[in-house]
Symmetry: C2
Subunit: 279 residues, 2 copies
């Protein structure tokens, strides 16, 4: 038997997303039975009990967890803008707190389901690229971003919810002070800070992934064909799409959520968290 | 380890429903990992190859299949009405072709997903009852059935897609000639023959099951509260409902189907049939 190289996964979160995190991880583990995962959990505010709970969850599935605790003293020079906390920097500056021998890692948002094999994504050739990501091709969004950051040539606005990182090259080329400077300068126009930074400073160094396969925004399934270029069938999505992303404010774990992938989400939630058994 | 009594399942079908049958069975096997199933496949028109295919499918999952072939000479006295074939009698007269030592069996339609443990349904106390079934409580349907069969007191119109049978009592009390006589008499008003027969002749001998748990019509999820008495949440359905029933003409394996449980159906379809892998 050939043992495959473990897949490194990065998640950064606060306590509100613990349950969705488990659902995401469970879906990934179940649909990648031949792979072993090393999950790096980056956080600053989880309790010991919460961290142990995630550790046990990952361990029970036969995978391993490393906890990266971000202390008070980290990101000391970073500007704080609006209502954002320092967590806005975790994703892009994760490399500073990850083991130096790590060559690549896949960052995943917790509002995700992994429904097919993730290996083709993880092994994407990153020669010369800092990151790989997909952009959600909504015409309207593109035009708005041109207005927000006119001095940067943003042809494609990448979504950073699924972000494959070439850590060796990032260590060479990504400079935290460039990032801090950008934030200072645009403190009033930031909406999704880490996503805005990535797109403004590094979008030319981001390898483009197929959004239908690696970062499918589930809201698009119901969209009119006039707004979305490609409209896959449910058959195609279930069989070929690797990552379903529950973008937007309405989440499938909220009461009164409704969407085409709600039942599937609740199915994985049951597998991850166990059913309540009463109602 | 206590070995549980195997669960007997009856399915009756033609070749068009072979794929949905596998999806239904797969969902049942996956969500009942501690149970063993004995599936009775009743048919008249499947080829040897098709039967072998189902046999292999069931065997690979660790369960067993018995094939009951209904020959030309069966149901010789039965009236044939409109466009219906003799298959309309399979469900209600199955007992004549099943092993005499069998005490109970659960009939399941192929347009079903079994998403939780089926044992509580299978072990329902049937003392004094011929059948157990759920009725779909749509006010309109009830009124229409009163008009169709005014001479029978049909207070509740049971859906026969999920039908638990007390075979000992059925052998004593169900008479094929009563059934044939009913069909002759109502040949022009039959819409769903086996369901109409059961409701007209035996509804007082049918134990009522909770439709939300044992026969949930997925179309209701989108219905207005004015039309349905109970409107469970997705959370409740995924965690508590045992059987999802894709009633009606539009089926989740059709192109252009859309519904709240489409993604979940396709998920089980992938597990049962394997993904196509290309699109």
């Amino acid at each position: 038997m050939v043992t495959l190289e473990p897949i490194n996964i990065l998640v950064t979160l606060d306590a509100n997303y613990l349950k969705p995190l488990k659902v995401m991880l469970k879906s990934m583990f179940l649909n990648n039975p031949d792979d072993s995962f090393h999950v790096f959990l980056m956080h600053s505010r989880l309790t010991e009990e919460q961290v142990n709970d995630v550790d046990e969850f990952v361990g029970r599935s036969g995978h391993s967890l490393s906890v990266v605790t971000i202390g008070e003293d980290c990101f000391n020079d970073a500007p704080i803008v609006k209502h954002y906390t320092k967590e806005m920097y975790y994703r892009l500056l994760a490399f500073r707190y990850l083991p130096t021998e790590l060559e690549r890692i896949l960052y995943l948002d917790p509002d995700i389901l992994v429904i097919n094999s993730i290996r083709s994504l993880y092994t994407t050739d990153l020669s010369g690229w800092l990151f790989a990501a997909a952009h959600h091709d909504i015409i309207l969004a593109r035009e708005i971003n041109k207005l927000r950051f006119p001095q940067y040539e943003i042809n494609e606005y990448f979504n950073t919810g699924v972000l494959l990182m070439n850590l060796n090259l990032i260590r060479e080329r990504v400079n935290e002070h460039d990032i801090y400077q950008f934030v200072e300068k645009h403190r009033n126009s930031l909406i999704l800070p880490d996503q805005d930074i990535l797109n403004s400073l590094y979008s030319k160094n981001v390898k483009k992934l197929d959004e239908l396969i690696y970062n499918y925004d589930v809201r698009y399934f119901g969209y009119n064909r006039l707004l979305v270029k490609h409209k896959p069938s449910m058959e195609e999505i279930i069989n070929k799409t690797v990552i379903l992303h529950f973008c937007g404010k309405r989440k499938p774990w909220h009461k009164n959520y409704r969407g085409d992938f709600h039942a599937l989400y609740k199915h994985y939630e049951k597998l991850a968290l166990g059913g309540s058994g009463t109602y």
